[in-house]
Each structure stands twice: as C-alpha cells, then as structure tokens.
C-alpha cells in the first residue's frame, strides 16, 4: 500500500494486508500523535488495511503552545 507521511511530506510503500496498529508499529510512530486516514475516512487502530489502499498518516502535534 502507498503510505503518505507529512512534515515533511513523503511517500513509502508498505506491503499489506496489515492493521493500523501494526503499520504504526512498523513505522515506529506513536498512535497518540497521529491520525490514520484511509481513502477519505478516519480509521481506528484495529482497522484492516489492504495492499491496494492509499493511507495518509497525519501528525496531530502542533508546536504553537506558548502559554
């Protein structure tokens, strides 16, 4: 499957099928710090991703937290 990562934007190919949890573990990403979007919808950690899917992993951390 094609996996789109952000900040900086880049693409990697990952073989499927797999679960969201397993994909994040493979990419060493903390599930707390990202959303996973498959096609045009959000998916939960147990969702199955197929080899033909296009998946965006979107970071949710922003740095503008000056008090």
């Amino acid at each position: 499957m094609k996996v789109v990562l952000r900040n900086p934007r880049r693409e990697v190919d990952v073989s499927g099928p797999t679960t969201v949890d397993a994909l994040l573990a493979r990419l060493e990403l903390n599930p707390e710090s990202v959303l996973v979007i498959c096609g045009d919808t959000l998916v939960t950690r147990d969702a199955q991703l197929a080899d033909a899917d296009v998946v965006e992993i979107r970071p949710v951390i922003s740095g503008g937290a000056t008090p």
Partner: protein
Amino acid sequence: MKCRRCRAPAVVDVRRHNAAFCRECFLRHVREQVRRAIDDHDMLQPGDRVLVAISGGKDSLAAWDVLRELGYDADGLYLGLGIGSYSDESSRYAHEYASRHGLTLHSVDLARDYGYDVPGAAVATRRAPCGACGLSKRHLFNEVALERGYDAVATGHNLDDEAAVLLGNVLRWETAYLGRQHPVLPAAEGFVRKIKPLVRLGERETAAYCVLSRIDYIVEECPMAAGNRHLGYKELLNELEDRSPGSKAAFLLGYFERAHSRFAGDAASERAHLRPCPECGAPTTGDICAFCSLRARATVGDEAAVELVARRTARGRSSGRSARRATAPAPPGAPTGAG
C-alpha cells in the same frame, strides 16, 4: 471497533475514554466536552461576545466551529506573523473557513500594522521565535478584544498543549505561571477574560473533529517551532500516554481540581505590581510593556518601521488606544462586523 454509543462501525478511538465513536457520535462527544469545560469553569455567560484567536490550524478552527455550534456569538481574529509561505497558507485556511460560513474575521498583520515580523523579532531580540510570537499574540488578542468590546478571548489551547505547559512549569517550579495556568482567566483592569474551551480535548481529538467536520486546516508545522521545548514535552507525555492511557488528562485536570489554588496567590501578588504601559496602556510590571519593548527592538534600524511605530504611539497616546486593524470584508449575507 464499534461506536460506544450507537454500536455503528467506529471511525475514531479515544483510548483515554476506553471508547471508539462513529462520526456523528464523535462530533457530539467533542461538543459535550467543550460544553462541560465551559460550564465547569464558568467560561461564558449567555449573550457574551467571544473573539476566537484563529491561526488556520486545527485547534483554533475547531474551537471556532464548536463555539458556533453551541450557539455562541463568536468572531475570529487572525494575526499575520510574517513567517513566509507558512503564514500565507495559514491565512488562506482561516479566511476560507470564515468565508464559507459567512463569519467576521478581523485581521492584524505584524509587518503592516507594527513594522516587524516574528522572524525579524527573533533575530533582533536574540530570542527563540516562539517567544516573540507568543508575546505578540497575547498582547494583540487582548488589545483587539478590549478595543472592539468583546467579553472574552477564546484560544485553541487543548489538553496536550496545557499538559506540556504544566510539565514545563512544574519542572522549573514557575509558581507565578502555575498560578495563572487555568482554563479561564477572569477579566481585570486592562485584561479581557481569557478562556480555553478545548482544555478537555486532546489534539488527536481536535484534529479528528476537523477531518470529520470537513474543516480544512494547515497540517504543516510552523517552521519556526522546530526544537520548541514544548514539542519535546508533548513527545514525552505521549510516550507516557501510550503506556498508560489517561495519564495526560489525570495530570492536567487533576492539577486544576486539586493543586491550582495552591499557586493562585503567586499570580495575584505579581498582578498587584501592574501599572499601565506609558506607550500603549497595557498593564505591565516594567517601565514599558514587553510588547512595546519587543516592537522597539525589532524595528530598530528600519527607518520606515521606526516612523510607523512613532506614528502609532502618538496616535495611541492621543486616543487612549489606537485603531489600526483591518477587518476582512464580510461576504454577502454575512453578519455585520464587530465594530
């Protein structure tokens, strides 16, 4: 996973609540959390006019959207920071949201209205850009809200932002900062009320809210924030959260409930020494306020900027406060601007 409320297929999981939600139930969950934060902390009263600080990012747009959904009279304020294409993009998202919903979005541009920008200020003051950025935002959000008669300024600070700030304040035992760290700061002489209605929501939740509400926002990180100390704290807290879901909420919400009052006196004693800044009238403990000091240092050497500052200051002195902001023209059918 199934939605905890309706058993439909879930699209987002929130481990802190040991729950997953479908789209509709998640949007309701977010609004309920904001409603609870507002009620628990007496943030707003019926009829209050709210100015939402809009950056074009997920948190501020989510805050604006939810406040409107809950029926509040909420306008936006966008602050142009002059951070190259990042500012151009964030401005586009902010204005597109306002235009699509027919909302009033006020606009202040640091370079146009004050003669400096954040990158230039960081160089001139030899401080981290986030310091100049935060200082400018705090001053100008307050000033515009006072000038235009808003009852409160709402910011998009979420649970993760506040937990990271709390960790930083605790690590250094910044007791005055701890005393000021609260979801609502009441109005005082020279200060409008400040509220943080997203304080019960993690930033994963605010991002999911935007995606599921089809709110376009700037995903890219501010290029000036690289190496920001709070980003490091957030990463540490997220490692804890991954091992022990609910840790961030327990840390932050527990602080508000059980520890904040112990530090309130430190913040109050600092406020006792405030007096009006001779340049702009904002409360300060110094000879001039930190914003006027920053502006003066950031514009030194730029003749046009110095002239602009002098003109603004003269106008500010003669009128008490200066009126120098532009308000984005409202699209057809939009409500009347705030002033």
